[in-house]
Symmetry: C2
Amino acid sequence: MYSFKELQDIVQKEIDGLEFSTPPEGLFEPMKYILGIGGKRLRPILVLLSANLFKEDLKKIYLPAIGIEVFHNFTLLHDDVMDNAPIRRSKATVHEKWNSNVAILSGDAMSIKAYQYIVSCEDRHLRDVLTVFNQTALEVCEGQQFDMEFEDRGDVQIDEYLEMIRLKTAVLLGGSLKMGAVMGDADAKDADLLYHFGVNLGMAFQLQDDYLDVFGDEEVFGKKIGGDILCNKKTFLLIKAFELAKGDDKKELEEWISAKDFNAEEKITAVRSIYEKLKVKDQSQAKIDEYFSLCLEYLDKVNVPAEKKKELYTLVKKLVNRSV
Amino acid sequence: MYSFKELQDIVQKEIDGLEFSTPPEGLFEPMKYILGIGGKRLRPILVLLSANLFKEDLKKIYLPAIGIEVFHNFTLLHDDVMDNAPIRRSKATVHEKWNSNVAILSGDAMSIKAYQYIVSCEDRHLRDVLTVFNQTALEVCEGQQFDMEFEDRGDVQIDEYLEMIRLKTAVLLGGSLKMGAVMGDADAKDADLLYHFGVNLGMAFQLQDDYLDVFGDEEVFGKKIGGDILCNKKTFLLIKAFELAKGDDKKELEEWISAKDFNAEEKITAVRSIYEKLKVKDQSQAKIDEYFSLCLEYLDKVNVPAEKKKELYTLVKKLVNRSV
């Protein structure tokens, strides 16, 4: 059994060893750059942890696992263009460092590279791996589309928001775990359980991320608190607040949302207080707990000795900031 | 044996029957739109004509063939964003009709759809089809990257130009034919011959397209003549002209290239005259003939009765405007 840390090192070594040296450099340099600026490498590690439940030797799965990370980074690259985001993980985004055309085209090439790595799996897994991956990849695009559409809508409902984060974030965690299970020769039932484990983990993780953006500790969270509030991002918290707010609370919330001129700290503090007053904070925690419990239920049911699942339980706990 | 026309109808019917009705509409409408504005459907027809050399029943190959057309249209969609092109086949481009973000994201989703269709091939062909497709798709991106880089360079050489059009245009024709051969259960040798047939056909076709943009008949060519000259596009003709021009010819050419204020018709006529004077026109024709002969040599060698290849010979003749 591999630990999370061991797999993280393996994944990093594999990424560092990828060959992007063919011309044209202008196409491959941005790939190297975005893959080089780090991240937790969560998705390929999930592929490998999942496969490791069923088999010991993971070498043939390294490259397909890296393919998922390459795909994930491709989506970040294009999302940053679409969101016009200047910074990713404290570094200039690709379209800032180069330009939009470079970001579009090297992203396209990156998605094909992702496929090349993913189809390096063994022949007997190829069909199943592709079926999961294609569906997941398409859903990620659907999620991004909903996310963009929500920016221009004032009537987004909680269920729509949950469906959006399921597509944009959660299914790729589920898909990674399922592809790992397939490549580990798990049976279909366990592969599906791991998929649902991952999707629910992804939901809990994203809701927790939204929560920490408002109520987190900057030191621990690793990025500035309040960003979602400042840009009126329609997260669970804001949608729920609008659902519950009445009278003066509603008026105050609406004023902050439509304010053009404001002090950032003041807005963050004010909106956070409204969230607390309306118990949106508690409801968010309750929702996270709900997905967290569900995800554990699925993991419990996976038909391997509990001891093999230890690393996954630890990971879940860390990701969702809960004790198992 | 199917005729080109029959296959064109089949391809069109299949494209019309594609289901793009799942939400979000904003993601799938642009796909329907760009697939709907037509084109010759050359690539899927090449897949099917190639397979048809080796087998009669093509039904299982329809969808993978459509996948190649979807991929091709995805590249057009993103190229149009990168080139900031307002019009494609007399219609507004996707980023004009919607916006850049829509074009980027629906293009991304389209490339995944392309994979979904392509991998619908039979299991025994899956690995080979994917190997050809992945390599080809990546090369198409490399070609686009070179094309964009050439815009900012004054020293592009003929060989570099030929390599760029090989990657950007020719390999996808070769790849289509090879994938068709694989799905038709051709042996590896015939599949490779068809690949090289297609690549050389693609070279001849692109050079002919460049030629017609300068010397063609607007009625027959179907688009305005002289566009490449007006935007100083570094085609075979212009690069060759700079290679050969001396003294006053060189000075005149340079003046037209750097001119900011000019009468369009005057520039077209002047540059065309220089091309004729420098015999660039003849050299272009000679180069087209060279690729045309090579492509026929490869097709000749494909190990099926000559009569089965009739449709392909007719197609080549039509595409390159030569008699076989």
